[in-house]
């Protein structure tokens, strides 16, 4: 397990060290991509980068907090699909013509958003209940709820998507755009990241998360309510995932059941790439942001160089392994 910082004078903490190192990697990657990949250094490409990573980063905020507290959340991908599908189902008009998939519950959009978020937090509550009360390993529970959430999304859409009879406001959010491809979800992402950073660094809640991850026994004995804290983190993570689902549904103007497939892995990968520890007690939301852009630049430049998307799965896996190993190596050298 990684130690908290030895803050001797003039020596920065391990966490800042890792974040800075990964920022360095990011800059080097960016320069290399700009030099070697034709048409990479372009405002459109960079704006696209931001837009593509926005949803993933919002998702990774919750996952990172849980990782810091020493728990996993693999259910986020399924919850994204659930959020998109339910937000469409609740507000579809009741009198849609034709197939059954065109008819929904006909609620106002605002109500359907609130209900969707509540349903998604219900999945989070299942996670929290099993992890904190039943003491089941978080990976197993969240693997189960991933299948559960995705399964509900599939049932509601009968295995495909709900895109007919949606109100006009449904796609409103996805249509807002500022400069080029920078859309509302990027703005939302920036807001969420800033809030998360403040919570993480400046509030008691954030510090307690670190203590729980670093040593749950000590945290418990020093009076932190570990169970309720972890439960809140799970609810928060599922809330963010549900929000991402609603955003992505709005962008696609449909409730597609397969939205967010593989997001649980991607969120985990970018958190780990940025230097968040799997063992808990170490990491930051900033890590996830840096990691997201490292991954984004890699996959975009591979795309632009004409490699098939199949290879990118391999590249993603390989990069993650290298990142985990090299970060541990660097920290060992530094602390030796």
């Amino acid at each position: 397990m990684m130690m908290e910082s030895k803050t001797a004078l003039g020596k920065m903490s391990n966490e800042s060290f890792i974040v800075l190192a990964m920022c360095g990697v990011l800059i080097v990657l960016f320069m290399a991509a700009s030099m070697f990949v034709p048409r990479f250094f372009d405002i459109h490409t960079i704006a696209n980068q931001l837009a593509q990573q926005a949803e993933l980063i919002i998702l990774a905020i919750g996952v990172t907090f849980l990782l810091i507290s020493g728990n996993f959340d693999l259910s986020v991908g399924g919850i994204v699909g659930l959020g998109a599908v339910l937000s469409a189902y609740f507000c579809q008009s009741q009198t849609g013509a034709g197939m059954e998939l065109a008819r929904g519950l006909g609620m106002p959009y605002g109500v359907s958003i609130v209900l969707t978020l509540l349903c998604c937090m219900g999945i989070g509550a299942i996670n929290a209940f099993f992890v904190t009360r039943m003491r089941v390993a978080s990976i197993i529970v969240t693997l189960g709820t991933m299948a559960l959430a995705r399964g509900i999304a599939l049932i509601v859409t009968q295995g495909s998507q709900r895109n007919a009879g949606l109100p006009y406001v449904f796609k409103k959010f996805g249509e807002i755009s500022f400069v080029g491809a920078i859309n509302a979800s990027v703005v939302l992402m920036v807001i969420f990241v800033i809030v998360a950073l403040v919570v993480e660094k400046k509030t008691v809640f954030g510090r307690r998360t670190y203590y729980i991850g670093a040593n749950p026994v000590a945290a418990k004995l020093s009076g932190i309510k570990v169970e309720s804290h972890v439960s809140i983190l799970y609810l928060m993570s599922s809330f963010l995932a549900g929000a991402v689902g609603i955003i992505m549904g709005s962008i696609h103007n449909a409730g597609i059941s397969s939205l967010g497939e593989g997001f649980e892995f991607d969120a985990l990968v970018i958190a780990l790439l940025g230097g968040t520890s799997i063992m808990g007690g170490f990491g930051s939301v900033m890590c996830a942001v840096v990691g997201a852009f490292i991954l984004g630049i890699m996959s975009t430049s591979l795309n632009m160089l004409g490699l098939s998307p199949d290879i990118q799965t391999i590249v993603k896996g390989a990069i993650t392994l290298i990142a985990i190993l090299s970060q541990r190596f660097a920290l060992d050298r530094r602390n030796a």
Binding site: V136, I139, A147, R150, G151, V217, F265, I311, T313, L321
Partner: protein, 358 residues
């Protein structure tokens, strides 16, 4: 005061204190008189729980549909259960040693693709199978290397290899078709479809043989004892001279080999190499292992009961098809069964611990 702190400490530890490797079979104090039903015993109930579930599911499905309990359907269930039975054998041992292998589904997929590619290249059935199993050894070796030598947490290491192996399988298949098919030799179906005895194919008897061997390995050899010891208490196992690294590494290699045999069986059943076979299989395998009563934190478990768990999963998924429940209900059903199993076993285990650890 001291008592309070002690209880709090025990509360906090996720892993309960190391249990003896075998649960006490009979404990006089644990019996509750239930009148006509005889003596009810939580330990016995935990031991026979998985059999009860299988019996219940078979009864429910066969009373709802006449098509469930006929010969063709049973043969079909057993034929389709071959990969998951093979994979969950090794997965049980890995989970008993308190590790996990999430990459099994991808190994199944990649092995099937490799097997078909080698058949297309004209290697012949025997050498293709041998080379594919060799590939399985390599993949298991990689998992073991990442977990035991490079010391990456098993969950992350095998999650990464899950995507790595799946990516390789996708890369090997031509993009336009997305499958390896056509140009395959005659008789590719023989292994997993052609009836040999009682209408069941060779693949099934291979799986049965593997299960028998693995049950013997778990019960009678030091590999089984060592894995239980490692899962029960890692430090104690290390201090008593067990080669922990080697043992767990061997278990990962075993898992790789058995998964690749499962991949061969599946490719032979489908008569093509589909890179998506075994997708989400890790979920099914974990489900089978947990249904069989293996503790996720390691230390105890039984391969035979895992196999019953695997049969439960196959009965449910085939039964749903027989009852014309649409395929998009499958994911939901799996999730519900997994969560339900976790809940029931946690409750039973609490009762058992209350009885035996007093």
């Amino acid at each position: 005061m001291a008592g309070l702190v002690e209880r709090d400490l025990a509360d906090v530890f996720r892993t309960p204190e190391p249990q003896p490797f075998t649960v006490l079979k009979t404990d006089l104090r644990s019996r509750i008189d239930m009148g006509i039903l005889g003596r009810f015993n939580w330990v016995t109930f935990k031991n026979i729980f998985v059999f009860l579930v299988l019996a219940m599911i078979v009864i429910v499905f066969s009373s709802v549909s006449l098509k469930f309990l006929n010969q063709a359907n049973i043969i079909n269930i057993l034929r389709m259960a071959v990969p998951i039975m093979l994979v969950s054998c090794a997965a049980t041992l890995i989970m008993i040693s308190a590790n996990i292998d999430l990459s099994v589904g991808s190994i199944v997929g990649l092995s099937g693709v490799m097997y078909c590619i080698m058949l297309q290249k004209g290697f012949g059935f025997f050498w293709s199978a041998v080379l594919t199993m060799g590939l399985g050894v390599v993949m298991g070796y990689i998992n073991g290397l990442l977990v035991m030598r490079l010391r990456i947490v098993p969950v992350i290491a095998t999650l990464v290899t899950l995507y790595l192996f799946r990516g390789i399988a996708w890369t090997l298949t031509p993009r336009q078709i997305g499958l390896i098919k056509g140009n395959l030799p005659e008789g590719i179906n023989d292994f997993a479809r052609a009836p040999v005895l009682f209408g069941l194919p060779w693949a099934f008897y291979t799986a049965v043989a593997v299960i028998v061997v693995m049950v013997v390995v778990q019960r009678k050899t030091i590999l089984g004892k060592y894995s239980a010891a490692i899962g029960g208490n890692l430090v104690a196992a290390e201090l008593s001279g067990i080669n922990v690294v080697g043992t767990v590494w061997l278990l990962y290699i075993l898992s790789g080999v058995l998964s690749s045999i499962g991949g061969i069986a599946r490719a032979s059943y489908l008569s093509m190499g589909d890179p998506m076979t075994g997708n989400l299989m890790e979920l099914e395998v974990i489900l089978a292992v947990l249904l069989g009563g293996t503790r996720f934190y390691g230390g105890e478990g039984s391969i035979l009961k895992t196999i019953i768990g695997a049969l439960i999963i196959m009965c449910v998924s085939v039964g749903m098809t027989v009852l014309w429940i649409p395929p998009y209900w499958q994911s939901f059903a799996k999730g519900v069964v997994l969560i339900g199993t976790l809940a029931i076993y946690t409750l039973i285990t609490e009762k058992v611990e209350k009885v035996t650890c007093r």
